[in-house]
């Protein structure tokens, strides 16, 4: 599958990789270069492979509330909320962003890898509301970095200064209708912009508007290194159907004072492991599934690992038993050799 911007990526000499069936740009100029540019200036990502569903109707609020662990009733209209969606047994189906346009109109953005599964689950658990998969008819771009607001403000009439984190508004880019949310997956300020998939010229408009700010397109490679530095998890790597929100740092998204699918199981389940950060003390990069050892016994595994261009260190996330504490030294098995790593928080990078 290809997004509407596939030819733009080819024109920019992107290295294309398969990502869950999508032919996506891994990198244009280089992962480190694109990563640094998002932290310092601004980058443009094509994230049109992600799933987008609309849930509308008089009972929409109640239905969405039941599907997700976080409390969307406490959120204002035109605002987004991050939440896991769980099975009855508490296992995570997916993590999503729910944009509440009104009490009767929600937009849900889900992981590309989970589009089909999520849609089926939602349809099976959402009677008497309208559920539309608008993934194919819309495009989604993410503009991320300290100059994102300046770059986008050139193109829109709405005052972006008034758009707070997770706010969302209907606006126009030049004359094209779009939905602009102040959200992202990089740890920087930025926007996610939804519009009709036929309007591919928006890609070039944003790049042109950003020229004065050194904008560069950024691929999935930089998206991954940026999100790991920012302590943001990736479904399929750091969590899956066998993981509960209490094992990963998502306790804050589970609101036990409301009802939702999976609540009963989550309340009764003993938590034995936790997802935590680690920093390699030697110059190797740990990868997904590498074993974590204490002395000689395996105590967990790496879920995500990369090299952090900002910290100039190898970092990652791993599952370990609850009793393992920050600053404790563990070993990570990379290619049948053990390398030392220090346990730390998952938030490696926090912008000023």
């Amino acid at each position: 599958m290809q997004t509407p911007f596939y030819n733009n990526h080819l024109g920019l000499n992107a290295k294309i990789v398969d990502f869950h069936g999508w032919e996506m740009p891994l990198q244009y100029t280089g992962i480190v270069d694109e990563h640094v540019n998002v932290r310092k200036n601004v980058g443009l990502f094509d994230v049109s492979h992600m799933g987008r569903f609309k849930i509308t109707g008089a009972r929409a609020l109640e239905i969405v509330q039941n599907l997700v662990t976080n409390d969307i009733s406490k959120v204002n209209n035109c605002h987004g909320l991050y939440s896991p969606m769980c099975y009855d047994n508490g296992g995570i189906i997916d993590d999503l962003i729910i944009y509440r346009m009104t009490e009767e109109d929600f937009l849900i953005v889900v992981n590309a890898s989970n589009r089909t599964k999520d849609l089926e689950w939602i349809r099976d658990h959402a009677q008497s509301v309208k559920i539309e998969d608008i993934s194919n008819e819309t495009a989604l771009l993410a503009l991320q970095g300290p100059y994102a607001e300046k770059v986008l403000q050139n193109l829109v009439a709405a005052d972006l200064g008034k758009l707070k984190q997770f706010d969302v508004i209907n606006s126009e880019i030049l004359d094209v209708e779009c939905l602009i949310a102040r959200t992202g997956y990089t740890g920087e300020d930025g926007f996610e912009i939804f519009f009709n998939s036929s309007k591919i010229e928006i890609w070039d408009w944003i790049l042109e508007s950003g020229m004065a700010y050194n904008i560069k397109p950024a691929g999935l490679g930089a998206r991954d290194t940026l999100r790991i530095e920012a302590g943001l998890m990736l479904y399929g790597n750091d969590m899956d159907e066998t993981t509960t929100p209490f094992e990963v740092p998502l306790k804050w998204t589970v609101k036990l004072e409301k009802e939702f699918i999976g609540k009963k199981a989550l309340m009764g389940k003993e938590v034995r492991r936790k997802l935590t950060g680690f920093e390699m003390m030697e110059r190797r990069v740990a990868r997904h599934k590498n074993e974590v050892l204490l002395d000689k016994s395996i105590i967990g595994h790496v879920t995500s690992g990369t090299f952090s261009p900002t910290l100039n260190k190898s970092i990652g996330f791993c599952f370990v038993p609850l009793e393992i504490l920050e600053n404790q030294i563990v070993n990570i098995n990379i290619g049948d050799k053990l390398y030392k790593a220090k346990i730390c928080s998952t938030r490696f990078y926090k912008r000023n």
Partner: protein, 126 residues
């Protein structure tokens, strides 16, 4: 570079200079790997058979073995790469050299690919 350059099928290059083989990875290989962020070098004095793994490079996306294209003993390693692994990307044939070995069987050099054969190989992998 007046010396003849040869390549292994695993994308290492070799140049013989003053009876020592200087070894690195090709420009094609570094482009395929992308940003190289660390390297594990062999110890000086260690011996390798032809096409044994002698070093490991980590790029952001993957770890890759570097093979020793000639049998022999490591006499020198490019320790600057520990601080500057990006030199392998920036200058794969010069600043990014990886090891120098004393070959134990110089005839192996002739078994490696010449420039033309190597270019054919990478054109078929592309």
């Amino acid at each position: 570079m007046a010396e003849e350059i040869r390549f292994s099928k695993e994308h290492e290059w070799v140049v013989i200079k003053e009876n020592l083989a200087i070894i690195g990875i090709s420009d094609f290989a570094q482009k395929q790997l992308g940003d190289i962020v660390s390297i594990e070098l062999p110890k000086i004095g260690s011996r390798f058979e032809q096409m044994q793994v002698m070093a490991i490079v980590d790029s952001i996306k993957a770890s890759s073995d570097i093979y020793c294209p000639l049998s022999g003993e490591i006499v020198s390693v490019n320790e600057d790469l520990l601080e500057h692994p990006e030199w392998i990307n920036q200058s794969p044939y010069e600043k990014g050299w990886i090891v120098k070995i004393k070959p134990s069987n110089i005839n192996e050099f002739d078994s490696l690919l010449n420039r033309e054969q190597y270019e054919n190989l990478i054109n078929t992998t592309k």
